[in-house]
């Protein structure tokens, strides 16, 4: 998925997948904190305005 | 077993895209755009791609409908045509030819459209004719 996103011109860092057990709450929280930090550093998605102004027909 | 691919022209608009209808044992099962057609060169729009679905739709009208006591009822062609002719004449005689207008369709042939405008202008006597493709 990351490679396909990258090929399509979307930074692959915007997708993150990791296996975490449901018993590992703190690890999940830490992972999410890091992910959000990374996303902030990347800035707004290039897709943000792409579909703007489109209405369902 | 009888499997055929039948070359035909799309009825949805005036472009005239060509495609093959896949017919298996008398039932139309698919649409394949014609690669060698100079019009569409193997491409179709979403309407053309789905032509095989409407052809055999049970929702298609197979008989004329006439509203009687507020309800649409199936009637014979003779009855429908007699009624339409009678009412058109009455309306024309009472209110004039320009009180009648005709809307024709992109889904019929060029020749049928020609006939309708001819009927409208020559038989009824009005220029009130338009077409759904003139959007």
């Amino acid at each position: 998925m990351k490679q396909l996103l990258s090929f399509s011109g979307i930074e692959e860092e915007r997708l993150h997948s990791k296996w975490i057990s449901s018993a590992e709450g703190p690890e999940f929280a830490e992972e999410m904190r890091k992910f959000v930090e990374n996303l902030r550093a990347l800035g707004p998605s290039p897709l943000k305005d792409v579909n703007k102004g489109k209405k369902a027909a | 077993m009888d499997y055929r691919t039948v070359l035909t022209t799309c009825t949805h608009c005036g472009c005239g895209c060509n495609f093959y209808l896949e017919v298996l044992d008398g039932k139309v099962i698919g649409t394949i755009p014609c690669k060698t057609s100079p019009t569409n060169e193997g491409k179709l729009c979403i309407k053309g791609w789905n032509v095989h679905e409407f052809i055999q739709s049970e929702k298609r009208l197979t008989q004329p409908l006439l509203r009687k006591d507020g309800e649409l009822k199936e009637v014979s062609w003779d009855e429908a045509l007699d009624f339409t002719a009678k009412r058109l004449r009455e309306i024309k005689d009472t209110h004039g030819a320009d009180s009648i207008g005709f809307l024709t369709s992109a889904r019929v042939t060029n020749e049928e459209n020609y006939l309708l405008q001819k009927f409208c202008r020559a038989a009824i006597g009005t220029n009130n004719v338009d077409h759904c493709a003139r959007l």
């Binding site: 396909l4 792409v50 | 499997y3 690669k35 491409k43």
Partner: protein, 266 residues
């Protein structure tokens, strides 16, 4: 190059081995997909080269699925190029056809077509006509790979923006056999929204082509907006090859690593 194909089909039909042969015929000035059931029809058999080699190929595998679903006990013959053969192998691995009930009559593509297609294997395992030519790697994919991420984004945004959501890429695809299609799932692709959401529509389809696309290129040829879909799916196939060492249809016995329906690949 159709004479040797005609001889082979004649032999198959006269021996009663096949019920019909799905191929191409010259008819009314066009090249049409056609089911040959008698030997005398074979005069009009062609291999789909009208103005250029392979310019009028049809989704014969897709038509074959329609036939075998209606007549599962009969054996059919079919004209195959390298891509079609891969398609049949992949369809068999997805349990869509019974390979024992199919007689392939192969032709090898000329180098010119292999270059135009950037085809890795422009010939079937066995063929009655044509000559084996060199496989070609995908320059189009390499070119996009070499761009910066922003340039890639702009390129695909421009391409996807042309989409009229005709579903032609899916409708022509010989590997699209699902009864329910994700592209018609309202949760993913909103119904009645034209043009489709970018890039959701195209990437959803690209993901579904992973481990499935056999690189026949009919999607690109059917696209009225000339979106280079084939390049996108070539990349997806490359990713699957890199990750799982698998290319759809190249090894007849092998299942896709993404195919869990028939059990995990061995």
């Amino acid at each position: 190059m159709s004479d040797k194909v005609k001889d082979k089909v004649k032999e198959l039909l006269s021996s009663g081995k096949i019920k019909g042969f799905l191929g191409l015929c010259s008819r009314d000035g066009n090249i049409a997909p056609h089911l040959f059931v008698t030997e005398d029809e074979l005069d009009n058999l062609v291999v789909g080269d009208k103005s250029a080699p392979g310019d009028s190929r049809y989704p014969l595998n897709r038509q074959l699925i329609n036939l075998v679903r209606a007549y599962p006990d009969d054996t059919f013959g079919i004209l195959v190029r390298g891509c079609d053969e891969r398609g049949l192998a992949a369809l068999a691995s997805w349990n869509q056809i019974n390979p024992n009930k199919i007689e392939m009559v192969g032709i090898a593509c000329p180098q010119e077509l292999a270059i135009a297609c950037e085809c890795l294997k422009p010939y079937p395992e066995s063929f009655v006509d044509g000559e084996k030519c060199e496989g070609v790697t995908a320059e189009t994919v390499a070119r996009i790979d070499s761009l910066k991420v922003k340039e890639r984004f702009d390129l695909w945004l421009n391409e996807f923006s042309k989409c009229i959501k005709c579903y032609g890429c899916r409708n022509i695809c010989p590997m699209c056999f699902c009864n329910e299609c994700s592209l018609e799932n309202d949760e993913l692709i909103r119904k009645g929204e034209i043009p489709p959401e970018i890039p959701t529509f195209h990437l959803t389809r690209a993901v579904h082509m992973a481990g499935r696309c056999i690189d026949c290129g009919l999607c690109s040829e059917a696209c009225p907006a000339d979106i280079p879909l084939r390049t996108l799916y070539k990349k997806v196939a490359d990713i699957i090859y890199k990750q799982y060492n698998f290319r759809a249809g190249y090894d007849a016995g092998q299942k896709s690593p993404l195919n869990f329906l028939g059990g995990l690949p061995e």
